[in-house]
Symmetry: C2
Subunit: 463 residues, 2 copies
């Protein structure tokens, strides 16, 4: 949402060396807008630091967080380490850990040595958690209070804590010595109640929380379902160790969708955005998948050789290989897509396989019937000179050929649907990512089936 | 997150006819958990109303909102209209409009007549906005204040308004007569500042807002980028008409991802969840797409007949039709997937077509080279008896056949990549949903290209 007018204005302020103008630019606009402006146009790293340098480190940090990763890396290389250490001290607790994870281990260590002790401890704490766990997603920057206060005491304590961010809206109530999570009050409830109300009367105790070692997706599932601003994260002893906030969940849901779409498109897992992803890495992933699929598709050659007799004898069949394969691939992809997405959203699980199978069998028959009809009609348009046996040039019976194409296509559609719907469930059961069963993989699987079905029907009716 | 123990317990309370037990169940748990419990096990509609009837209508409404649509419809049919009217008065402003839109027009009108005037006016207001606009997504339930107050006056006014929901955290500052949006203060800032601070010193004026007639996606894009809890929605005269909240955006992002995935899988736009979607509607959509793709794939027949001479003369070619087609389809799908997703996330636009083309051409060459190599190797494994001309049984030159397969496959990969990357951009330019250009559609397009390329190379080298 960078206003296109900001960039020339900032350029002008840089030329004029106007400290106050640049300070005002950094402080009066939303940090997202500032970051957007400074990375969209071709500012140099030195110029960006010149602009940011006019404001205090806290504001710098809030802007810095919204730069794309590549820019962040360049900016870090373009200034002194003590400066970066001050920045890290002011960054949000989860974002700075992401940043340090991304940096070269030596650089990260050198930077950490310059960070003050409290922040260094907090970073070390979050660093412990493995990627893909809720621990790697959470922030330790939350508001908490002991249980024995009244609403007005709670408010004045909060004023002292003055938490940095919007995480002030949910306040967790902890046992002071054990840090065990006892309950939660919302800032709304604190404001609306009378000042003398004790917070243990006000707090919710039926809390939905997540475990720090759980996979990230669980946090997303909960926040999607309950409309919370944040979810408390606890350790094995029910101690509060952090919170996961709504904005990180939005990013996670987005990233999950991209991953699902990429896997479905046979691209593998490309996390960086299209224009900035490394060419070599993208090439490696795409080539890997294309080659795997290419090798798998070689099975179609073998399937065709099995039906060599029919293929060589009945001239017309080879012209329909492509159509049969595509029908299988499309019906398989449809079913796999629906089932994979339903699995991802938790609408179904592997235990529902029988219900899915029944549903998709009926669907496959209902769709196959329509395609069978179209196939029957299409068969009547095949020119007579192709409807012959290659060795004798005797005509193939047109009615039987119509039946071959119609029934062949119908069966392929039915089988494609069944295989496509079952494969993601089988993958899930085998603890393989079911998204891999969508699109290209299932197509390859069904292509061979399509050939086998079509030629089997052809042999039955025409040989 | 329904605890599996709740359902039997509730069943027991129903049998015991324990009003206080059921009331406690409804009021002590999160509404999501209550709704989950009551719809997961096989409770009857009458039983659900018996449970909900023990608590006040406001709590009923907050639970009712979390029932799946199908259940909501059944529950509405299972109680008196005056009861539903009271429920509607207490529901969130956006959810109740969604509900009324879904109901039969006569039922909706009859219900509306029973709703009190203020709520009826509010519903009519939101009803005006077309689906897919921000107006249809927003709620009119927001907190606002005039500009001339101090922080402590603001807080006591808020206590009087006592807004229903978490929308209290962002308070919009309006001109009292024109309702024009002047700025915003957060509850956090109101709490942390000294009580005498005038709110016009405290408020942010550089607000990011959306227009009520804009498409929904714009609200999602903004909330994804800025980590707001809500975005103000204004009309043409800059008057505040509503807000869009983070939880509705999460649902929207989720639904957008499902739509993209379904379109990519050639399923069409199935919005209901897998297990509850109407069989007939799903059948209609899937059959429609399968039939369209089937008809389009018939072009492969025509493409093959163009190369009838080569196909009939060189025995081996027909065995590689499937492999060639699949290679084109897979490389096309990859490129289309990446470009479509990048378009959806706003990482690229149609203006970037030349950069995308250049990138994908280089990528297509780099990937095609690898596939060409695999193709060359694969060609050496073809049995001698198939490497002949069908009319003379003279052997085909094996080196030339290797070149045919290698170069053919490489070219198909390159063309698939180029077509796959350009098609979504062309669609976008023509104002067609670019997601339609992914997977099955692009495959069909590329299948024909694959046949033409492979047989052209074959004719060049082998005929």
């Amino acid at each position: 949402m960078a206003n296109p007018l900001f960039a020339p204005e900032v350029k002008h302020l840089i030329r004029e060396n106007s400290s106050s103008g640049l300070k005002n630019f950094c402080e009066s606009l939303n940090p997202v807008t500032v970051a957007d402006t400074l990375c969209e146009e071709d500012f140099t790293v030195a110029e960006v630091w010149q602009v940011l340098g006019q404001t205090e480190v806290k504001t710098q940090a809030s802007i810095f967080e919204y730069f794309p990763k590549k820019w962040q890396d360049q900016l870090i290389a373009g200034t002194g380490r003590p400066h970066i250490a001050r920045l890290i001290e002011q960054m949000s607790h989860d974002d700075r850990v992401d940043l340090l994870r991304r940096l070269d281990a030596n650089v990260a260590e050198a930077l950490l040595r310059l960070v003050d002790e409290a922040n260094r401890k907090d970073i070390a704490e979050l660093f412990r958690y493995e990627e893909n766990t809720i621990g790697s997603l959470m922030t330790t920057d939350y508001a908490w209070l002991p249980v024995h206060l009244t609403a007005s005491e709670a408010l004045s304590r909060l004023r002292q804590q003055a938490p940095d961010s919007e995480t002030i809206y949910y306040i967790y109530i902890l046992d002071e010595t054990s840090r065990k999570l006892l309950g939660m009050v919302s800032l709304r409830d604190l404001i609306l109640t009378s000042p003398q109300t004790p917070i243990n009367k006000l707090m919710k105790v039926d809390l939905v929380s997540v475990h720090v070692d759980d996979p990230k997706e669980i946090a997303a599932d909960i926040l999607r379902k309950f409309d919370f601003l944040a979810i408390p994260v606890i350790d094995r002893d029910n101690r509060l160790v952090g919170i996961v906030t709504h904005d990180d969940i939005i990013d996670l849901i987005e990233a999950e969708a991209t991953k699902a779409i990429h896997e479905q498109g046979g691209v593998g897992d490309i996390l960086d955005s299209y224009m900035v992803a490394s060419f070599f890495q993208v090439w490696r992933k795409r080539t890997f998948w294309l080659s795997c699929l290419f090798l798998a598709e070689m099975l179609t050659y073998n399937a065709l050789t099995i039906f060599e007799d029919a293929l060589e004898k009945i001239v017309v069949l080879k012209y329909f290989i492509a159509l049969c394969i595509a029908t299988g691939g499309n019906s398989g992809t449809q079913a796999a897509t629906l089932v994979t997405r339903a699995l991802a959203l938790g609408e179904i699980g592997t235990k529902d396989w029988l219900r899915v199978l029944r549903k998709e069998m009926v669907m496959g028959i209902a769709m196959g019937t329509v395609l069978c009809g179209i196939g029957l009609i299409r068969a009547t348009f095949v020119s007579r000179e192709r409807l012959v046996y290659s060795d004798t040039y005797i005509a193939v019976n047109q009615w039987l050929f119509m039946l071959t194409l119609g029934i062949g296509v119908g069966l392929i559609c039915l089988c494609g649907t069944i295989i496509g719907s079952m494969l993601p469930l089988v993958f899930k059961r085998m603890k393989i990512d079911p998204a891999l069963a969508s699109s290209p993989f299932v197509s390859t699987f069904v292509d061979v089936t399509g050939i086998v079905l079509f030629f089997s029907v052809a042999k039955l009716f025409l040989l």
